[in-house]
Symmetry: C2
Subunit: 386 residues, 2 copies
């Protein structure tokens, strides 16, 4: 285990009706609130109206229409509203898109230059406005961590940034908000949670048993409850466990004390940057191919652990057989959740593979990954996804 600093300080208010605490939470920070959200779903399901009612004493400004892959133009717009109106607190309502956008807006408030600088160079993030979130999708874990991913479509860039100062102060998680999600979002969100865990679980650092057991437990949670949530969208237990798993998957519990870079995420960021696809779908497609590509003598034992501890598969005589069965089970699971599992199904061909592979290696530090990948390797993995 490597040295680490762990500080997941977000106050998590979890369960039915926790929204009732919103005004007390917001008032801790001030009166001027920037409400950040995406499409119209929070208007349809009543969350928007309830928030307006609860915050009737606040001065609410709005930034609506945050994109599924939130764009730097939207961040710029939000930062301007903050500066012009002395905003005290940024309230994100939605999934990772709204929250990530809110984070960089909150950081940009105290930054004099172009907010894109904060995405390309996280060291420029200093003071950050307090951030409060109301989560409506179990996926990114952004509600309890320091990360944000922002896109710049004119240059086909989708980049991650991070700062401990961007960790939300309070997040409200009501599993009932997930009841009306489209099935594909439930599935893609689960794939995102699982991918976060994979990125941390398949890692070179030895001796991180606690972290690995947490990781396996979260994967088991996704495998158990995603099919139930798809079958019975109003199953509270399923929604609650998936929602809590999303926060636990990327708040430091699974990754502390480990070194090395991620793999599927930087590759998927290129897919989204070029084709604006759903992040979780891209991850689900990439995952089994990536696993098969990196399965070798260095990695096979960990894949056996994965097959046995997560999928409860029997240990075969040949360890590659066990490992491959775990990978097959992963692919089968995503398929059964209704995720299109090839790039071809999304209308993506080889046209930009060369360029995407180059960019993934450039942005992703893939040379430090569990199994280091160069441009050719990324291209091959993309081809396996056709």
């Amino acid at each position: 285990m490597e040295n680490f600093r762990f500080n997941a300080y977000t106050e998590m208010l979890f369960g039915r009706g926790q929204i009732e605490k919103l005004s007390e939470v917001i008032n801790r920070h001030g009166r001027n609130v920037l409400l950040v959200y995406g499409g119209g779903s929070i208007k349809k399901n009543g969350i928007y109206d309830r928030i307006q009612e609860l915050l009737k004493e606040s001065n609410i400004l709005e930034l609506a229409g945050v994109e599924p892959n939130p764009r730097i133009e939207t961040v710029r717009k939000g930062a301007e509203i903050c500066k012009e109106n002395n905003v005290d607190v940024v309230l994100a309502v939605g999934g990772g898109s709204a929250i990530d956008c809110a984070k960089v807006i909150a950081a940009a408030h105290y930054y004099q230059g172009d907010p894109w600088d904060l995405v390309t160079d996280p060291s420029k993030i200093g003071k950050v406005l307090p951030i409060v979130t109301v989560l409506t999708l179990a996926a990114t874990g952004s509600e309890m961590n320091k990360n944000a991913v922002i896109s710049k479509m004119d240059t086909n860039e989708k980049l991650g940034t991070a700062s401990p100062n961007m960790i939300p102060q309070t997040s409200i998680l009501d599993p009932e908000y997930l009841y009306t999600l489209p099935a594909i979002q439930t599935a893609a969100g689960t794939a995102d949670i699982m991918s976060h865990v994979f990125e941390q679980y398949f890692n070179k650092t030895k001796g991180t048993f606690v972290q690995d057991k947490f990781a396996e437990g979260l994967l088991e949670t996704c495998i158990k409850y995603c099919p139930i949530a798809l079958e019975e969208p109003r199953n509270y237990e399923a929604r609650a466990n998936l929602m809590w798993a999303s926060s636990m998957a990327l708040n430091g519990l699974c990754g502390s004390g480990k070194q090395g870079a991620w793999t599927c995420h930087p590759i998927e960021h290129e897919l989204s940057a070029f084709y604006d696809i759903t992040h979780g779908v891209g991850l689900a497609i990439l995952t089994p191919s990536w696993m098969r590509y990196i399965l070798n003598e260095n990695t096979v034992d960990k894949f056996v652990d994965y097959a046995v501890n997560v999928w409860h598969l029997p240990v075969a005589e040949d360890k590659y057989e066990t490992a491959n069965k775990g990978i097959d089970a992963t692919e089968e699971f995503f398929k059964e959740c209704g995720i299109p599992m090839t790039l071809t199904e999304l209308g993506i061909d080889t046209a930009n593979f060369e360029q995407m592979a180059k960019a993934a290696v450039l942005h992703g530090a893939l040379q430090y990954a569990y199994e280091p990948l160069d441009e050719e390797a990324v291209r091959k993995i993309l081809e396996m996804c056709l």
Copy 2:
């Protein structure tokens, strides 16, 4: 899953040499420091000298000699030192005893009455001085939580209190500090960690899958690494996993979203209050007898989960057989760790059983436990421990 608030905000600095950050951490809070510690072990192993060196710019006041079961007289003494010297931050160096003592001192600083009031009535805890800890024992989890246990020997009382304001600001965890622990402390500390998990895992609330998987993972960690640490006291991996498990076992991860009262802890508090025994030893002795006593149709399925998921035992046709094998494995494990597993071995007989049972029910809210216990039940469990 029940509604909950989770906020484990302590900054955890984990790993070799993290003590080097101490002066930066302390300086955030001020110049006047109350150093709280127990016996002479931190003088023998050099931690005391290193702290003096690192904090040479601070004004250090000392409260030495905190008892293994810290006493209210010591808390009173510490609170007086704080008030007389305008202490800015309380620095606890040691295990749960020093940290628990420091917590109530830090709370008593802002309280006008007798500090014992804060133990009997947690609602009286208001503002609290900032607390920083340097952990030298993996056991109580006090380094990352709101709890403190204080004893009043003249009335044979050992009571727990709690407040979110008593959560330490920063904790420094260097696994190498555990290298020189006496074997019995490594074993008893592990029993304490496991007991914290048991108290939360064996619980009536349904649908807390994430929490239960975390719990099982922490138990597996203890079972894997305690024997290694006993065999090779300087095994970093073993010490690191046990140390991290201690913090994770009682910071809300395993207990959030669950209702109900604990069992073995309130009973053990009576044993310690009457006989001043090592907390973890008392817990280890009580645990298998408590498990056997409460094994019935309501609880057997959970005990089967425990046997299968934690001990990886095969599922027998009779579920009671599986459940009992898990309990037997627990007892055998504590024995193999060198813990005396009967009260008789500690020189404790039935003399005070009646009184202890009464007090445990009075203080422990045992009627809300996983399986509710009355005085007679507690007495019977104590008898099973002879």
